[in-house]
Symmetry: C2
Amino acid sequence: MPDTLPENSVGLVTPQLHHFDEPLTLRSGKVLNSYDLMVETYGTLNAQRSNAILICHALSGDHHAAGYHSMEDRKPGWWDVAIGPGKPIDTNHFFVVCLNNLGGCAGSTGPASINPDTNTWYGPDFPVVTVRDWVNSQARLADRLGIEQWAAVIGGSLGGMQVMRWSISYPERVRHAIMMAVAPKLSAQNIAFNEVARQSITADPEFYAGRYREHGTLPKKGVMLARMVGHITYLSDSAMRDKFGKASEQLKQASMNLGRDLRAGKLSFGFDVDFQVESYLHYQGERFSETFDANTYLLMTKALDYFDPSVDYDGDLSKAFANSNCKFLLVSFTTDWRFPPERTQEIVTALLKAGKQVSYLDIEADQGHDAFLLPVPRYMQALTTYLDRVKREVSGHAA
Amino acid sequence: MPDTLPENSVGLVTPQLHHFDEPLTLRSGKVLNSYDLMVETYGTLNAQRSNAILICHALSGDHHAAGYHSMEDRKPGWWDVAIGPGKPIDTNHFFVVCLNNLGGCAGSTGPASINPDTNTWYGPDFPVVTVRDWVNSQARLADRLGIEQWAAVIGGSLGGMQVMRWSISYPERVRHAIMMAVAPKLSAQNIAFNEVARQSITADPEFYAGRYREHGTLPKKGVMLARMVGHITYLSDSAMRDKFGKASEQLKQASMNLGRDLRAGKLSFGFDVDFQVESYLHYQGERFSETFDANTYLLMTKALDYFDPSVDYDGDLSKAFANSNCKFLLVSFTTDWRFPPERTQEIVTALLKAGKQVSYLDIEADQGHDAFLLPVPRYMQALTTYLDRVKREVSGHAA
């Protein structure tokens, strides 16, 4: 869409497909004999291979974190605000790697891929993957790219859980672990919302027990509902109020203005959409349901539910971090009610108890959980400051 | 189920059906030519008819607020903890009235009733009813029962909205307005959750555009999902943690205990129910879906969305209360995130601005929005203390 790309964009990028033939044993005990990972990289790996940063995506993310795939793209990658020349994750200095996780639906092997054993879609046969499985597959990608140690591994939400797992499973391979909007494990409420999302999908008559592709259909309505539930939990109450709660002058004229932005200026007295928040959620949910695979959505929510690195350490998270060898930056956001600051602080406390070096920031932001994806100035500034230090380390290391 | 009923129970009660023939013009402009209201009463109306209390129910409530319908009942009415001889709403002193609201599914005329004009179920043809419509129909019931003025009108959540409307529409007919866990209107987030619930129901293939009864079926899955979403918003995060988040000793033995009470002691690595919170929500949702009418659920959520008494007063709630003539008691609960204390305080502020007499209590309670239905000791004590004063007024009035 843009005639010229912004100067601080990584520009046009082309994803690369990496094929892996060494079998990967998953946490469930199942084995993936071979698989593909779809990867994007930005910037240049230095001669010392010391300036690589791994970006881990969250529930609905993919490998396309920055830049554009073509001049026709209406939007850049999902974290373009933070990645690019002169941006906090500065591609003039860092070699940035982002991949679509296993089980995803953006090119890496997942339920929407063809199972070589059956020559049809994996669908519901794709094994449940955990955060640990992802990190193991990412370590193999690092081997492939010749990266012995990441200068930093960075992620928010489910991405932050991958960062945590990296710092525990591969202590020698991470210099800095940067996590935003993250929790040590889901709360019962988080799991409950995920279960509602899963039920929405599996209850869709177009779901066909996960074999919808064989039936030439997609359970769009179920995915839309799942996304609507998710979306509500990503936004703060106040962000929704700001977006949809202001009575416009026009609507003040309406005979029955309820002060929450009536879509058509009056009530339907039926079951049509009355409020802007409803049509917004419909629109977002519908768009999502056209591109995101339902089986992948199920997998991603289970990966969230199952995450708890303290499990192997008698429930003591600080013991899980005992061997971690990196420095940590954690960021929470004041209005995030999905993973509120207190949950992030549980990780900080465990790290301090384990004697690790931790920086922690609670950022005043109105956007709820979504804030970790947005260019909140103090947050961007904090990333810049922290990564400037990493830059100096990397060049010191290089010198 | 009990061999004998508890001494402080109102005992066995029998609902009464009241038929109304005078047409009721609804807020939507539609007219109900005739309708029935299903009513229960407890205690005795005194000679001065001054000791009557109206209880207004919330989304899923009905007329059966206290006592038992038969010795086989496993549970008493929905607010039995507060209504009975010697209880806060003391039936030794008060005549308590509770009805199933219009559009309900427990005996009053609603979508599951037969439309006399068509000789089939109203279904989706039942008109959208608002809180104001309910209060108008309740005023007619008061006329029928010979009650000129209620000693108190009491309700929580959607019930509290009816109390608010009573104090505005019928200022001379209410002595005390008691509202718990209430907001002046829904937030955009509240509306969004309601819309997800509605979409869950209407997306169920058994919904048949609301004509499921003609198809000999019920959209149970959709109602179950709607209820699951609702249920999450009624409970606090901490209540869910207390209920489902404690790792039991037994589960500590399990090979992969995630600390959030695994249902079978280990992960399924599939899409079965793994966590107790999931099976709890399933169970509650399924039970609800077998008894609660889907069209009624849609109506109730729209009544919530549409409620905003400030609408006729240029958005100024205090002006709405200008003519109110009663005393007010408002109660909020610290962990209620559906209608948090700040929302209740908006009403308190408006009442004070309007120069009304208001008592307000924020009760420390762990149970979230649901707390208003539960025997939280300080809450029960507050109701008792307040209603003791009303008792004295009523008997003074009588003397």
